[in-house]
Amino acid sequence: MHITGHLASGPGFVPPSTTDFKLPSIFGHSDYATKPVVLVFFSVIVISLFFILASRKAAVVPSKLQFAGESIYSFVRKDLGQEIIGAGFLDYVPFLFTLFVFVLVNNLFGIIPLIQFPTMSHVSFPYVLAIFTFVIFHAVGIKRQGLVKYLKGIAFLPGVPKFAYILLTPIEIATYFLIRPVTLSLRLFANMFAGHLLLLVFIGGGNYMLHDTHLFMKILSPFSFGFGIVMTFFEFMVQCLQAYIITLLSALFIAGALVEEH
């Protein structure tokens, strides 16, 4: 919708830009009534409903619905919890599970017809997720090792010659308190942002070519649409992968904080 608005306003083709991510409020002018906000709450409702229905019976022999829900849960539980965190992993499974399904569904919104907007392309949401991971893995480390010992373990890497601390200490501190949360959120954000932009380019471009006065451009427009469809499949892969990666990295950070020496 907003694409055609852009096209109508200018004479030539206006490529999609960051302003395309600035969506107007659905009702009124509140920041709390925008499409991404609605989508995030919608995702919470959809995920809750699906998993409550799937897990309600908790049968030994699962129904198809229970099996579907269980498969996702046990994937996070086993591959991201048990295998990475190891002993005591069960405490962190609810968080990892929530993180995975929340990101996955919100990413998939990017290609689901009629929704077609990945909420994680608004950087605020990945920031929130990074804050959660940041707080949790530091809390785990402090709880497990005590504040002083934990901070000392980060700042002064054991088994390293003394003079190396000049270089290593700033790097380690930056890694734990800045680089990790920032990369965690920006990786997700950038992938979703770029993916959405890419789809906008091909589909918006196809649309523009179709409405062009030249017959030549009209003939070529299906190629642009076609590539848009190919990129949609590619996006599906990236969306799943990013949900996996942010959960995997969160699990790795927690596992790292659980281990005595880094």
């Binding site: 709390y32 995920i47 897990s55 908790a58 849960y73 609810p94 599970f97 929130v128």
Partner: protein
Amino acid sequence: MEATAANPLVPNIAEIVVGLIAFSLLYIVLRSRVVPMFEKAFTARTEAIEGGIAKAEKAQQEAQAALASYTLQLSDARGEAQVIREEARVQGANIIEELRAKAQEEATRITAAAHASIEAERQQAIASLRHEVGTLATELASKIVGEALDDQVRQSGIVDRFLNDLEQSKK
């Protein structure tokens, strides 16, 4: 306003708040309603499988115990049969031995009895023979010597003495 909106890295306060609330909400729901149920299903499934295995193991143990007891009983019975057979053999041998001894004894007894009766008969025969021979000899002698001699000769035992001498000389 437009400049900040165009920078995609600047967060929106409303979205931060919404994100925090939404994620927390989802976390609470999944943690309280979904995760325990899935864990319950997993535990129940594990128990069902382990229960089945335990049951099978128990059945197998019982079968093995039964087999062991039957084998033991069988070997006991075999041993018992062996003992009985051995006893029977010994008893049989004893009986045979006994019977043989008895038969031997009987045979000996019969033989002895036969010997005794033969001896008796012989003695009798000898006595009667002696008597007849004596009579005959006396008759003969009386015929030769005369009738009066009859009583006198018997009294003096001449005939017996003669016959004894005869036997003595024969030996």
